[in-house]
Symmetry: D2
Subunit: 346 residues, 4 copies
């Protein structure tokens, strides 16, 4: 192995990244070293690139970015037994403590002491990445690298879409970014009766349609509430999957939800906003599910099941491929709103 | 039977009620006529008395008020088979259509065409009241009338407290009005590990303590968030039962809820308010349950079970008893904040 | 309307049916009269035809047989409001009391006083059939009659397959009679990762394959336990859907079920048999669900959702069509084991 | 620390145990060494003492017996961070692999590679016992040792009783051995409406009554089915908690269970037996839950909650206390049927 590697680094407190030559990560006794095959850009990476308030409060430069990836194991720590050199793995990006009350009761995805790869420690926009062996997920050798890299992000969609019962039910998906359209694909695979999807980007609505939405709507052009009520004979939908974080979408979505329905919220509003809890939640007797990350490891087994059966095909979502060195172009593409997932190849 | 009866009537659009002599209700083929033994005052009745915005939009005078009651069946319609003259019954106050999609899928409590007794049609602040036989609930003959009258309202508490798993868990109840303290009693009966209760009224905190709260807190005197965190070693609670509708209580309650916990909301905020959904709901991965009414009839069987076993004793909650003619005094008592349930005897 | 109609009648205690001219049914105030468009043969009808022990204990001749059907409403009772003359309806075959503790708590499908159409009262193998309006289910006018007739039976499959979580999971279906293969179709529509199906009839295994099974197995030719273990890398399946009632299939199925898995049982063993509860159920920590009928009306909404979205297509299952007069031939076909659903057209 | 310790050892393949002086256990880097304060006798220990078929197939002598215990940590391995010398701990007796599909999806209690302390490796009938730190459960310093020793076994009862909803419901407990009567205590704490309990031992029925049963019944003296039907107005019970493993109790219990009810099975039948699945499970639409061990660690948090709130008091169940050296007398007492829990103090 070489002693140096290429990596995309957040070098200082401020916008932008730099491509650097840095030493290879040193692994501990429970860690593994992975040669990165593919790594995709997440909305979180864009926040870090742009250095918004959240990033400024969370990131301690210098740090290598990136947490959606796959690769080949090239070295394992002394105590590692479940992973072997040569394995083709993806990774759960949340490193959890395994000992808090939440980890011990099936809620490790919201562990009290989560560290995130590529956020709180060095990540995958690099030729090599070091992770705890406990975070590795084995893939079949012939899985396309860009799909294997997507699994972590796909997990958010799987967690969201399967939190409520969608089979034979009417589903509204508000927000058609990459996670939103993957959620549509899961709802379709899980037997949804009909899927209504909204977004302000026509490019994304095109992807939504391709991934399984029955009806796509732009709030720029039409009244989403009116359209969905017409489509559902005035009844509204059984399930809301909210992927945008936009207050107007949350309000419209809750209004369109049938009494007794389920709202699953993944999109993060950028700040507090006014909500009519009495009329939209309480008197309607609905249930609201907040979604963070992926369940360790229930969601990953579901990811595997959906991909291996072919019930979900993520290929149409991978719209752009770049070399790691082209990261600037890749981020510009991602930020243009005219892309699905953008994948880097180190 | 007499041809006239005493009744407390909302006679016109505006504050107050009047005691009137009115004709006895005429019953239809599926109805029953009940001689009222006891009827209690609900917060809803106070809204109607005060003629607030909600009342002005909903109530069509003249209408006899009152929907929490019990009494003896004195007449049955031609098609009634399940209820007999002489039966001692309470009533579910929601008259539902039995045919909408919600009624047909176990959610009759949020039926699309609910009519409420004492709100949308004549109610129980009267010597006699007519209801559909399908709304009657049989009581044992020796049940105290003031307890039988309370069952409907108790049902809100049962529905709320049993919507989340409370057994062996830490529970925060925000708001100790009558439904709030009954919720405390149910959580205690269902095996809660500890119950923290907050209210701004010391009288109500006294009732909360009497009905089973371990720790009572007044936000007027102390920092509820700080107290609960101290009591729970910084972990917070597993379950929030929100009974106040106060935005500050909702925010504090959600902040105190553990990640992955369950918030059950019954208290109605009087208007939309600012909420930090991202930090209080979504990233914490919690579940929020809106509660309306009582489940038909799952909740009623639970009411029966909790009262017959003695696991819940509602007697301490009945703090005031009045004749129907004393309704003005009864409402003043109710509005003083220095009462539990106030019961009228026609 | 004519005064007489053709009907297939169980005329006496013993094997066989007779085609008779009988008076049209008289409807009560809550009933509707339906002109039958199509009616399909159920396994239950075969039991009645053959006059087995169950039939001898349950059936009181004379009675018109048949409970899977659809047709046009030609008359309604005086109190009927939800159904109109001209409506195209199917029917829930269980007539329930609406008032027992089970009906009142969301379990009407196992009502304490169920009466079954075509079993306990006159059924649908006739030109006209009378049912309570409350048992009617509205269909779109353009739904093919043979599919509308199948909905009731399809409901058993929907109830079974959706009782456990199948999405992204490995499913074993033991027994590929008509309900079994419909269960396969539902599991496929709901996103099952893989579906293994067993039956002793090659004809039925062919249907199973057509309706979505990945692997079909005949216990006559192979060791089902061995095959499924090989297919699942020795892990077994997450969900067992048992549709045969055969003790050997139940035992094999439970053995193949992963610890913590779900077994859903619909097939009825003909008599008590030896079961190793300790090793197959208790120590494995599995959950076993007994299935009777369809949920009123949750299952019917799911039926609608699965058929309207096209997620399930029942057409390949309708293998034989006969005139009502050809009922003998129809029953012989049904009993040959070389058929899917057999539909009669009065 | 001494180099030798007293221990009760299964020295050879055959009935009985021997008190021996043996070397203290050597701990590994992830282990802890506990000085045993108290250790109680489980039914499993009796099987090993008597050397029945199960024991002969599972136990590899020599092995120190015992898996219900508590004590003080006197040494920790080099990699242990969560446990400290001086901690007062109890232990989960199942040592799991943390990496199989079941461990990774919230079902570690049925891990594919479970090792049990005192069964598959040396246990707690000794002055010292070595366990993985990951199996330790912290107790408050002032918890009585005999209660802390009981927690593991109590966990079986908690797991069983909370697997079905018992609040406000009618519960039948068949089998009143120690786990049975603890299950009664949990059902009572969780708000059961009424608890009916059966056993053939009058001593145990006395304990059942003391721990919260409303009605106790001996099948030797009365017809349990008849009694429960009379007590429940012919309706039967909502929940069956089967703790005996006796085929007759399982059959009676399932017969008494209402349609749609929940049966939770912990008692292990000694061999396969005839069961009428069609009438007792399938057509009744019930759900059957097999119970193995305790959930890691959900059940332990529930144990803590129930004991700390005082909702369950286990003191009355500890009927006999012996020195470790008196193990023969202790086992004779345990086997007499005239005891609750028998606790040894090394």
């Amino acid at each position: 192995m070489p002693s140096l590697m290429k990596a995309v680094v957040k070098t200082h407190a401020g916008p932008g990244f730099e491509l650097r030559q840095v030493p290879l990560p040193q692994i501990g006794p429970k860690d593994i070293l992975i040669r990165t095959r593919a790594t995709s850009i997440c909305g979180t990476d864009v926040h870090i690139y742009n250095w918004d308030v959240w990033a400024a409060n969370r990131i301690k430069p210098p740090v290598i970015i990136g947490h959606e990836f796959c690769g080949d194991v090239v070295e394992i720590g002394a105590q590692v037994t479940d992973v072997q050199v040569g394995d083709f793995v993806s990774a759960e990006s949340h490193i959890v403590d395994h000992t808090c009350d939440l980890c011990r009761t099936g809620m490790a995805h919201i562990c009290r002491h989560t560290q995130i790869i590529g956020v709180d420690r060095d990540g995958s926009f690099a030729e090599y990445v070091c992770i705890p062996a406990a975070n590795a997920w084995h893939n079949p050798p012939n899985m396309p690298p860009e799909i294997a890299a997507l699994e972590e992000n796909f997990g958010n969609a799987v967690h969201t879409a399967l939190e409520a019962e969608v089979v034979a039910r009417k589903v509204l998906v508000t927000g058609c970014g990459p996670v939103g359209v993957m959620t549509i694909a899961v709802a379709r695979a899980a037997g949804a009766r009909s899927i209504y999807a909204s977004d302000i980007s026509d490019y994304r609505l095109g992807l939504a349609k391709k991934m399984g939405a029955d009806v796509v709507m732009s709030p720029k052009r039409e009244d989403v509430v009116k359209t969905v009520l017409e489509e559902t004979s005035g009844e509204g939908v059984d399930v809301l999957l909210e992927m945008s974080g936009a207050p107007s979408a949350i309000r419209d979505g809750l209004q369109l939800l049938k009494a007794g329905g389920h709202a699953v919220l993944l999109g993060l509003p950028s700040k507090p906003f006014e909500l009519d809890l009495a009329n939209l939640v309480i008197m309607k007797g609905i249930t609201v599910h907040g979604i963070a990350g992926r369940k360790l490891w229930e969601t990953w087994y579901e990811i595997r099941g959906l991909l291996r059966s072919g019930a979900v095909n993520l290929e149409p979502l991978v719209t752009h491929r770049f070399k790691l060195e082209e990261f600037e172009l890749a981020f510009q593409t991602m930020m243009s709103g005219e892309s699905g997932k953008v994948v880097l190849f180190p």
